[in-house]
Symmetry: C2
Subunit: 276 residues, 2 copies
Amino acid sequence: MDSGDSLRAKFMEFPYASTQQRNLMVELLSSVETRLGPSLQSCTLPPDVQHFRNPTDTAHASLHLRSGLPSSQIDFILGGWIHCKLPSGGALNITSLSAYLKSSTDAPHFLLELIQSNPKSLVLILDLTPRKDLILYPDYLKTYYEDTQLDKHRQRLHMLPEVKPYFSPSLYIRAVVSPIAILVNIDVGDEEEANVEEIIRDHVGPVAKELLQFWLEECACLERGVGESEKGCLAGRDRIMKNKTIEVDLGSSFPRLFGGEVADRVLGVLKEYYNT
Amino acid sequence: MDSGDSLRAKFMEFPYASTQQRNLMVELLSSVETRLGPSLQSCTLPPDVQHFRNPTDTAHASLHLRSGLPSSQIDFILGGWIHCKLPSGGALNITSLSAYLKSSTDAPHFLLELIQSNPKSLVLILDLTPRKDLILYPDYLKTYYEDTQLDKHRQRLHMLPEVKPYFSPSLYIRAVVSPIAILVNIDVGDEEEANVEEIIRDHVGPVAKELLQFWLEECACLERGVGESEKGCLAGRDRIMKNKTIEVDLGSSFPRLFGGEVADRVLGVLKEYYNT
């Protein structure tokens, strides 16, 4: 049986990701572990949820989940990768990092997803997900999104000719993200000069690292003094958000990619963490 | 002194809008008046708020506001146009129609704005603005935005090569709109074949009319049985939303366009309607 360390090492290999996508994910995860490590438990997912594949061996995936210690503001950090051979001959490769905070703070969660279904294009979803209705709480909008000028990162990426806005087919995903969310499709087409790897290294990487750094310092590690009744509201909204995110993001694709049995096992375990 | 009828007639002239923009606005306003007329009071804005201009006569505007009768679900309907000569020689022309509902229903408000700063391009903002936090109320998202398949209208416009997503510089505007909101910049560039007028007539118009029709039938005229405590929540959220919308949309531009005195007078009167 694999030890925790070897399972983590296998996860951190990102064996199917492109070089730049792998480098970026390893760097982001290392930043999280360096800054938050002392506040996190080791991964307690069962080994067959840390690594799994479909019966026909065309789809592999790995998840790494570390819950926050009781004294910390971190609910959990979840990293993951999914690889799936496509009937067309190519492959779908997804890498992701999401980080949820407890209701002892109302600071935004962190969300990163890189979806690559061919070497010429990449979908990037990168956001600090709000914990409150931004209309009812304009001060929250001001504190985390306006005063911080985080929109400059989105603007920076949109200046590249290869970058187009990405509209998620899920209206829920469009609704859950913040107004500074980066949802883009990077498509280099048949141009020889530009390539996705360079764009990840020179543009996506720096933006993702800056947003993560902001999240680590200003969201995860700053105390906010949330009152008891507000904690209840945050916890309730977070519970709905997390369950809906699993349903929309993984619940719809996992049975198709990994078959019903594997999907049920993995989603069943994740839902326990999402609902504690 | 102008009578109500002649002030309304002057408003409905849309004297600075392009032919197609004027035709569309008149058609939309006529639809509203035909369907909701018996539920609406006449415009009670003071004449100098129904029509006003800046001291140097380079900016003209007209507003037409009709409140709902006490028995109706309509809070008020506000139509408007703004014309402002630009130092560059051109002109800025904005036409808008917004429709707010009372807290006796939780159905979305209606929002349309057409912003033309040169003959080659047009910004369109068209939405059914949600009344509730779509994360906390997933059934609301489903009822008004998913099951209705309203996103098809946005998709239809995005198929046109001249249509690009528009990102409002205001994060509040990005946050207040729904996930099916149409925020686009229509830019025909130097092409001879396409022109903005044809796109308004053939594409913007049909989409705006369909969304307004949906709003009239399924939002304004359908009863929803909202409980007393929910009414309080809706009224509170609406109050914040309306005041913030005035602040962001008009409060920032009116002093610049019309001078402080005119802006104060007009915004002062509007705020009374927005806060009853």
